[in-house]
Symmetry: C2
Subunit: 211 residues, 2 copies
């Protein structure tokens, strides 16, 4: 049995632990301490032990965690045991980088379609994927059994597009558009806002300079 509700912040730490476990495994290491995981994830070893205790016992007394067993369990918890079919909405440069990003495919996120509204882009190929028109959005969601949409558009069209995606059955959205999307309950949206991240840095720099 999996615990029903894990806080978003815990899920994030689990994803980071998993990344380290995979590195350790590649290096041929069998065990890892909670201290090492804590250091890499920027948290405390008490937090690591608490996070992992939810999911059963992986510790070997005096040796730390079993790298292989814990990795399998974390992949299972994070839902990484299977592939997810991903639609990219907006065929700009950032989308191009995402399509090529090996990390996505390695973790089971498979880009199955790309749409854009620019007639010059529609019909051109990105690797094996031919860019389709945004008018076909609903049809593509059904045809490709899309589960996750990645929105890489300007702010303005984003809400209208996410409404159409949700209507067509998509329940998970990774949003790069600089706008807070409104979705019904049961739909998950994660936001990546590069400009906002940079502005929190400029804020920090500006206030250090004036301090």
């Amino acid at each position: 049995m999996l615990p029903r509700k894990i806080a978003d912040s815990t899920v994030r730490r689990l994803a980071i632990y998993l990344r380290f476990l995979e590195e350790f495994e590649d290096q041929g290491r069998d065990t890892v301490s909670s201290e090492a995981l804590a250091h890499r994830a920027g948290t405390t070893s008490a937090q690591v032990r608490k996070d992992l205790s939810f999911f059963g016992s992986f510790g070997k007394r005096g040796l730390g965690y079993d790298v292989h067993a814990l990795g399998i369990r974390l992949r299972e918890i994070l839902g990484l045991g299977r592939r997810y079919r991903v639609l990219i909405v907006g065929a700009g440069r950032l989308a191009g980088a995402l399509v090529q990003y090996a990390g996505f495919s390695a973790r089971g996120f498979e880009v199955v379609a790309v749409v854009d509204r620019d007639p010059d882009k529609i019909g051109t190929a990105w690797g094996e994927i031919v860019i389709e028109g945004v008018a076909q959005l609903e049809e593509i969601v059904v045809r490709e059994q899309v589960e996750i949409a990645i929105l890489v558009t300007p702010a303005d069209p984003a809400q209208g597009l996410v409404d159409r995606l949700v209507q067509a059955g998509v329940t998970a959205v990774l949003n790069f558009a600089p706008v807070q999307l409104h979705v019904p309950e049961g739909v998950d949206v994660k936001n990546v806002n590069l400009a906002v991240e940079l502005e929190t840095l400029s804020y920090a720099l500006a206030h250090r300079v004036h301090a």
Copy 2:
């Protein structure tokens, strides 16, 4: 006088408000209500009023906020009144997308140098920027008066690179490497971890499916 310490979450909302104010200004609108800002930022109008009350009075009774005046003040608060010199570490596809991302330059973030460790990339041009070797990191930071570094590398070399950047005088880092960086006090790091965002979605999908 600016308040000394604003919570990171508040700074993020200010950055989002600013984006909307700029849209409203482009549309020729003079005022905006706290309700409209709240809706776009995914928060409450009480929160908007609280956030903005820190910085003086921008409300016109019964009319809402003055779009132009509030925009100027938010740009000032966010440190966007000047340009920031940005170094990109790691010349992969994602870095390429960042260099071309118009939003960065429009908000004053100017990419002044790109470094990579791949000899095949060093010496090639990205627009007006010639990619340099990572061995020159410290020299470039000084020569280009770099203020912000964007780290777009695999996890493994990231900590070593950030140590060198900090040593050379960089105090603000936007980190795309899937690793928690350790930096001394006075250095700000913001993390953008695309794979972790996707995994929080796969977690949500997996647990909906099994529920």
